[in-house]
């Protein structure tokens, strides 16, 4: 059964969500419970009116150096999206802290990334300067 990291734990997923490309997803008449995969370069705006009904947004990494998906995830969370954001593709374990901080809460890497190792990387940092998904206030509002 496929395994992935979700909400800080390794879980098994009996049935993978049906990930639509942005174009296919836009053609769906009922968006309730749907899953859509964003590629770098896609326009986020068609999703915005449907954030309450989408179940999964996958952000895709065709190559790990392409950082556009970091902005997609952050923007989705800023606009109030509370469903799953799943990183898929060729990201590396060293990006997991950053990804979780911009609001990615599920990780389904392609290739042979060891999920136990990856889980460890989620805890690389415990203190942050910026406001982010796991820490709503920037450090300058929290210093004591």
């Amino acid at each position: 059964m496929p395994r992935l990291i979700k909400d800080g734990r390794i879980v098994e997923e009996p049935t993978a969500p049906m990930l639509h490309s942005l174009e296919d997803w836009q053609a769906l008449t009922d968006k309730t419970g749907t899953a859509v995969q964003l590629e770098p370069g896609d326009d986020l705006s068609p999703l915005l009116p449907h954030l309450g009904s989408i179940e999964v947004v996958a952000v895709s990494f065709p190559a790990f150096m392409d950082g556009r998906c970091f902005s997609y995830a952050r923007e989705l969370r800023e606009r109030g999206y509370t469903g799953e954001i799943r990183a898929v593709g060729h990201f590396i374990r060293d990006q997991l802290t950053y990804l979780s901080r911009v609001g990615v809460n599920a990780f389904a890497p392609a290739g042979d990334l060891d999920l136990d190792d990856a889980l460890g990387s989620l805890a690389d940092f415990t203190e942050f300067y910026q406001a982010s998904n796991n820490e709503p206030l920037p450090l300058f509002r929290r210093r004591t």
């Binding site: 770098p40 790990f64 150096m65 392409d66 950082g67 556009r68 970091f70 902005s71 952050r74 923007e75 800023e78 606009r79 590396i92 060293d94 990006q95 802290t97 950053y98 990804l99 901080r101 911009v102 690389d124 940092f125 415990t126 203190e127 942050f128 300067y129 910026q130 406001a131 982010s132 709503p136 206030l137 920037p138 450090l139 300058f140 509002r141 929290r142 210093r143």
Partner: protein, 554 residues
């Protein structure tokens, strides 16, 4: 200067631990070269021609003497006993072992330093005026702003994998000594009509392959919006900057492609989403940052008395007087002066300094300048707060170690990247050209007669020597495997910033001293009265220079 609290320290310590793990995984073959590349770059480590190079961050150029001594010790233990001051105010060591870099970073962390984001496609060290806080022409101290930007940009989760590198500079004075027009974002602290200091924001400046002067996208921004506004700019860039061609990936290309008005509109749109959110700066945040950049305990000095005494000393010892005239400048506080220590002595690579001299300067800074020292983007060092009555003993100590070269702002104060001697990106060597020019123009009176002159040398298009904004710029180029040098004239880095114009076909290394001499002779014959090189160039244009240089080149 800024002092870490437990939060800052924890972030840096955790970063060292993370990088130690990454290095171990790389050495164990668990990370590929391609995967390790951005990780090591964002910790300052390049792999160079002969050895790795580690670039250590010096946030906005400020160092205390504990840090200076630590740098000296690190350069002895892990390197060859000298360091290089870069054109972005950072410190580089050229021979560390890749496996030892985590240990170096741990030693840096122990003195509140790091190498985070000194390289890679991320937000780099924020730079500023080396005379921040002491300059007589300052409107607002840029350092608290720089520190707030440093914190915001350090390990920013959204902007660690940008299309390309991203550089921010801040200036708070009438004269721009931070080259803000040549940065991805340039910030000028300016008052509005009510006299309230805010931010004038420039975007899309940069050197490299396509040199561009930054465009204004906001004439005055309330300072509490600084970080959300920066975030909006970075987000537009991260989403829309080109990633298909690294030569077209800088924000300047995006701003040109969209047009500055459309770019501004896109930033405004993104800004509305984050404006007034938690990242909006508070007065407390400014007060906290400002609390680290308060005045040192200046002595109450009688400025007029001090000036008379100094004049006497200068008259008694003209060599000292000359150094005072060339290497010190006016200070905001009466009776004090700021001293620039030239790292451009003939025979030494521009910007290099030995461990012993770093330690000497640490001692001198403790004795004469409140324990602080600054790096400059012209690759020199500054003791910012020296009492005029201490200048003579300071000068004697510097003079004894060859650190009193009186050439600040003159021809031989060459700005020069490490070039092909070290750097694997370079097309040509740059240090030998600088040395040949310093050797040719060794008549200091002639050099003074030429007046203020910026000569900048870059070993390749990446323009680390900022050749585009030198009054005379020299660029190393590769011509069928041979090293050649292209010359440009008329660049300038001030508030009237301009990009130099290429003179014509490039020259061989051996010919460079002659070429520069012909350019200088042309200037001398055409100048009117006290006209500077740049003013003459702007009046007569490039043609007379072109004619004379190429007419005699055959």
């Amino acid at each position: 200067m800024y002092v870490y609290d437990r939060h800052d320290q924890k972030i840096v310590d955790e970063r060292v631990a993370q990088y130690r793990g990454q290095t171990e995984r790389y050495l164990a073959g668990e990370l590929t070269d391609e995967e390790f590349l951005p990780l090591r770059l964002q910790n300052g480590l390049y792999v160079q021609r002969l050895a790795p190079m580690l670039r250590i961050a010096v946030p906005y150029g400020l160092l205390n003497t504990r840090q200076l001594r630590a740098l000296a010790a690190i350069s002895r233990t892990y390197d060859k006993g000298y360091v290089h001051i870069s054109t972005r105010q950072n410190v580089q060591i050229n021979w560390p072992e890749l496996a030892e870099v985590p240990d170096i970073l741990a030693e840096l962390a122990a003195v509140q330093m790091h190498a985070i984001q000194t390289s890679g496609n991320c937000i780099r060290n924020t730079t500023t005026d080396q005379f921040a806080g002491v300059a007589a022409d300052e409107l607002a101290d840029p350092r608290p702003y720089c520190e707030l930007i440093r914190q915001w940009s350090t390990l920013h989760p959204e902007f660690a994998f940008l299309p390309r590198k991203f550089k921010i500079a801040v200036c708070g004075s009438r004269e721009d000594r931070a080259a803000i027009h040549a940065h991805d974002i340039g910030i000028e602290l300016v008052p509005n009509d009510a006299g309230v200091i805010g931010l004038r924001v420039l975007v899309g400046g940069g050197l490299g392959r396509t040199p561009v002067i930054g465009s204004e996208i906001c004439p005055w921004l309330d300072r509490r919006h600084m970080l959300t506004y920066l975030e909006a700019i970075l987000r537009v860039y991260n989403q829309h900057g080109r990633r298909d061609n690294k030569y077209k990936a800088r924000i300047k290309i995006l701003v040109k492609a969209m047009g500055v008005d459309a770019f501004r509109a896109a930033v405004e749109r993104e800004w509305q989403a984050v404006k007034d959110g938690p990242t909006t700066l508070t007065e407390d945040a400014f007060e906290y940052a400002e609390s680290f950049f308060t005045e040192p305990a200046y002595r109450e000095l009688d400025g007029a008395d001090e000036a008379r005494a100094l004049d006497r000393q200068c008259a008694d010892e003209p060599i000292f007087g000359n150094w005072v005239a060339r290497n010190t400048c006016e200070h905001r506080v009466s009776g004090y002066r700021s001293v620039t220590i030239s790292l451009k002595a003939t025979g030494y690579p521009p910007g290099d300094i030995t461990a012993e001299n770093l330690e000497l300067l640490a001692d001198l800074a403790d004795r004469y300048s409140f324990g602080e020292l600054r790096t400059t983007h012209q690759q020199n060092l500054v003791l910012a707060d020296v009492a005029a009555s201490d200048l003579y003993t300071l000068w004697q100590a510097l003079q004894a170690e060859g650190l009193a070269t009186p050439n600040i702002g003159y021809l031989t104060d060459v700005i020069c990247c490490p070039g092909g001697d070290y750097c694997s990106l370079a097309n040509a060597k740059s240090i030998p050209v600088a040395e040949a020019l310093q050797a040719r123009f060794d008549d200091i009176d002639y050099v003074y007669d030429l007046g203020p002159l910026d000569l900048n040398i870059s070993g390749c298009m990446n323009a680390c020597g900022h050749h585009h904004i030198g009054h005379i710029g020299v660029l190393g180029v590769d011509k069928k495997g041979e090293e050649f040098y292209q010359v440009s004239l008329g660049g300038s880095q001030g508030k009237d910033a301009s990009i130099g114009k290429i003179l014509g076909p490039s020259f061989r290394q051996d010919d460079m001293p002659d070429v520069i001499e012909r350019i200088l002779n042309t200037y001398v014959s055409l100048r009117e009265e006290e006209e500077s090189f740049l003013d003459t160039y702007r009046r007569v244009g490039i043609e007379p220079f072109k004619e004379r240089v190429y007419a005699t080149a055959d």
